[in-house]
Amino acid sequence: MTNNFDYDVLVIGAGPGGYHAAIRAAQLGLKTACVERGAVGGVCLNIGCIPTKALLHAAEMVHASHRAAEFGLTFADTNLNIAKLNGWKDGIVKKLTGGVSGLFKANKVTLLTGQASFVDDHTVSVDGKNYTAAHFIIATGSDPAKLPGLDVDQDSIVDSTGALVMPDPVPARMLCVGGGVIGFEFAQVYNNLGSKVKIIEFLPSVIPGADADAVKEFAKVMSKQGIEIVTQMKANRAEKKADGVHVELENVKTGEKTTEVFDRVLVAVGRRPRTDGLNAEKAGVTVTERGFIPADKQQRTNVPHIFSIGDVASNPMLAHKAMKEGLVAAEVIAGKPAEQDAVAIPGVVYTSPELAWVGLTEQEAKDKGYEVKTGVFPMSASGRAMTLQSTDGFVKMVVEKDTDLLLGVHIVAPHASDMLAEAGLALEMAATATDISLTIHAHPTLGESMLEAAEAAHKQAIHIVNR
């Protein structure tokens, strides 16, 4: 591109969406800069996906060390060094963020550090210095939503960022306000490390948006592990006292109020798009009342040369969605006919077992007018699951009755997130349940539960009695 601007593309934010956009733009020969006011890698790498998964793995190892007694492995003493755990987790983050910086250098993406503010529709100022660009990609992300009455101090009342720093000793009594993905992941981390954990959810069901059967099974398994789950309950206010945080809880149905005491309270009630300091209005970019900067399938905002991707653009707020949108925006700017045309975006709760889904839930399929059949294969019938001491859960397939077209896959199982990759490809390829059942899956694996769920949809699974 030839123009009088400093850059062809200026990306605002270096999270998953932003760094994907910047690297792809540079790969396509565009002169690219990326502005970041915090740490490269954004929420996902620094205070999101990666550090939570590190904690979940460590917590699962602690849990596994207890269960190993079943097959005769006992430990004289299991002792967790909390400082070392926090340090190990931080080390992974450092390595990955360093990796992104290295990729920027290798691809000749200029990293500008500071807060970007639009001056006009072709200029941003970064901490007082102006930069012009032909195109902008807004990738400013999101922040944890606040809850009135519960003031986050990142000590005894934390959001997801504060919850990542494991206190020593581990809190005895933990409350998770919000029964979503983040609430459950931290609930299991703290539960496995010894906290008595309670989750409260305002809605009638936890993990809203996931398949009802899968959520029911998931909640059952989490309860069995010792996590207390209460739905239709809200937290009105929290007060710090000498003996802990006093939280007033209210039953949403009956209005009944009780006060309970906890050592740590996590507020995980959703996330809000982040546009503070951006001055989007100076570029003429529309920001909705809820703070989103909406974009079309090419990720263009209402201003054609300004794009919006990731959490700030729309729900669901997921890293892999932001990454895809980043690639689309960069490719469109480079003149390619890209668009966000994914059939489905997978969702995962990285607990053990995991809850993972892609495509339509049974209810969504019915609401859209499909006549559906389902195939369910329980992990209790999986030889591989038995060898892994993890027989809770199932694979549920939602299939269109007449055409056999796969519509959605819902999994509660260990490594469900990895099993989901096959389901995602099947949906993108418009596969039928027959296509999956005719595919030879390695035995014994967890993945062959996909094959058996497809067979179950045809009432001819081999390892379960078909009804």
Binding site: K336, P337, D341, Y370
Partner: protein, 50 residues
């Protein structure tokens, strides 16, 4: 078809965009009328030739 979804593999969707073709107008040769890359290329040739 419910929700009006056109069944096409990702590479066929990309090919259609590159050729400026409306996928809904492409005849799919795969199962359930699934559109493959070859179908898109054939439709494009047909459009040029026709």
């Amino acid at each position: 078809r419910n929700e009006g979804r056109v069944l096409a593999v990702p590479a066929a969707r990309q090919a259609a965009r590159e050729l400026g073709l409306d996928l809904a107008a492409v005849r799919g040769s795969g199962p359930n009328g699934r559109i493959r890359v070859a179908d898109v290329l054939a439709a494009a040739q047909g459009a040029e030739g026709g």
